[in-house]
Symmetry: C2
DNA sequence: ACCCTCCGTTTTACCGATCCAATCCGATCG
DNA sequence: CGATCGGATTGGATCGGTAAAACGGAGGGT
């Protein structure tokens, strides 16, 4: 209680921060007891605990994360690359995903570190380095494609990681794209639509193909597929392309009464096509987008929302669970359909 | 060279990482010499240095960031809040800004930590906590508004911080919005336009007002302001609102031949209005957007680009420079006009 | 030969917390 | 009444580096 361990002047002026030793001295106990109060309060007698807690509150003590991390070799951090802007369709989700990840991490006492990288290889190299230097406990991969080089590099280097998007021989969390589109078809079919078109991405990419497959499956289930294969059109994920595709579908003799778009961008283009053709969205013809971007709300556009908060939680959980010899954790989450004016059945 | 300091089994199997002690043992020198090789190579004799470097390479040693940070009490990290998605016009910039920040930080050996917060107050509280726990050296504030509560809280708590956007009594980095819009007016005036309209945000917000002021100033400088005050219209930052405002301007008897928009969103709306009116962008009427979002390129829309990489560098520099009693660093950067088809003078 | 400087290296201490083993204490028990 | 026992508390070592001071041998000056 008299002086500081280490003969340092008590609460240092200015810049120095309050350490566990200051608290211990103030409460008249040892450092270890303070540590116990912070980490396993049950081990400390109530009276002592309260005395320590008072000292903690008075001095405004906050344990040094670095020291704790060093000693317990648990960095309390996960890393994720922040990609440069691209016209990739998932780019719109990137910041929402990072937000979800940050929030989920905080909920379990872990922070999110961002890093930039030029390509997949340097991203993987950075991940390895971050883990080797003890900076992070694991990393999250985003936008994983079928023959992605990253999972194998990281597995080889024994870097804990989880993918957002399916990957072989690795832990992943994904949102069921096929199911999302299928739920849109269900919704439209239940609203009485019998001819439902699909505006998709060019073939060859996982996400786009999954969404297309959802349309086929659901159409078939409703017995609407026969003769509908002409209603499946594909094109770039741009507003103009969406408008063009919608116009071409609606210009046919067997024009569909509803459209499912693989993105809000395409759906926004479709809305424009409706306007050009003098059709009223939701009344004359329905359209539903995907990803529930901010513009969907502005445009009163129905859309499929990915449960990003849950995705974040699952990823953090998978990353921090007792990894090892067991099969990597995988989970496929259902998206949620948000119905707005563009597809609401008129009363 | 014989056994490990601390009597630990040499390169531990599996999970354990290579430490400075392993390298020291392998090279037959002390830990400190290894440390010197890594940090101040000049202090070490060439022969010794090479021997150590060989050992470093062989063992794949990477210094533990946590240990280094703890000892030198320099976290090597900066933090920035990641905001939830909003319809705020600057939201489009958020991920690009974070990317720039991450890149700039890496260039100076600092990593970027992201955190989520519900409001400005809890954001400030988190910042204080992050610095107090030694997790980060400083924080970056984004979207700073005139009477923002955050700067004063952080100053009070002696948390080093820099704002992206002007703030009183604090370090900040900003892009000159007025100058950006003025450069657009210059460009249009040089292309022969004499009647130039402005599509802006509702009054009362720093960014929007700055951009509007740029239009006024430049128009006046070119002697085009007289009678032009009717060409300054304001509205929400949405696509629909942009289309509406453009239509209303172009429908007048004194219709402008060029439009300056305060955002790409508004400009995209204007492009739609042109289409509706049968006008050809860049030929019949010019339009220029702001922020050079990805859609600007797709739409062949001229736009003003904020020099985010430079903003990031300046922020990191300001945050890590010898802070203290001197006046906080402030810098106002010029944006760059990207001319595309929507405003290119026809040859 | 002696002292002093200089340089390269090692030694010692330390950053701030946690882990482990040892100690202390009152309470129970033979 | 001394030995034992279990929970509360403490001291010391440790995590992996870095700062500062101590060390030792080569070279220079007188």
């Amino acid at each position: 209680m008299t002086d500081m361990p280490g003969n340092r002047p008590a609460p240092r002026q200015g810049s120095g921060s309050v350490t566990i030793a200051h608290v211990a001295a103030a409460a008249g106990v040892s450092k270890q007891t303070v540590s116990n109060v912070m980490n396993s309060p049950a081990k400390v007698r109530t009276e002592t605990r309260e005395r320590v807690q008072r000292a903690v509150a008075e001095l405004g003590f906050q344990p040094n994360r670095l020291a704790r991390a060093l000693r317990s070799s648990a960095a309390g951090m996960i890393a994720c690359r922040i990609e440069p802007v691209s016209s990739h369709s998932l780019a719109h989700l990137h910041d929402r995903f990072l937000h979800a990840l940050a929030e989920a991490g905080q909920a379990s006492g872990r922070h999110l570190m961002l890093f930039a990288a030029d390509d997949a290889e340097s991203e993987a190299a950075t991940c390895v380095q971050l883990v080797r230097t003890g900076s992070v406990e694991g990393v999250v991969l985003y936008n994983v494609v079928p023959d992605d080089p990253r999972p194998s590099i990281l597995t080889e280097a024994r870097v804990p990681f989880v993918c957002f998007g399916r990957a072989a021989d690795a832990g992943w969390v994904d949102v069921d794209n096929a199911r999302g589109v299928a739920s849109v078809v269900d919704h439209l079919a239940e609203s009485g639509h019998r001819s439902i078109g699909f505006l998709g991405f060019p073939e060859g990419h996982r996400v786009g193909d999954d969404r297309a497959e959802g349309w086929v499956t659901a159409m078939d289930r409703h017995g609407l597929l026969a003769g509908s294969h002409r209603l499946d059109v594909r094109g770039e994920d741009t507003w103009l392309s969406g408008a063009r595709m919608a116009r071409s579908l609606l210009g046919r003799p067997d024009a569909p009464t509803a459209l499912v778009a693989a993105s809000d961008t395409l759906a926004a283009g479709a809305l424009q096509a409706f306007r050009d053709l003098g059709l009223s969205p939701g009344q004359d013809v329905a359209v539903v987008g995907y990803d529930d971007t901010p513009s969907a709300e502005v445009l009163d556009l129905s859309s499929v929302r990915q449960p990003l908060p849950e995705v974040g939680r699952r990823i953090v959980e998978a990353l921090c669970s007792p990894d090892g010899t067991t099969t990597p954790v995988t989970s496929l989450l259902p998206p949620e359909l948000i119905v707005r004016g563009s597809s609401r059945p008129q009363a």
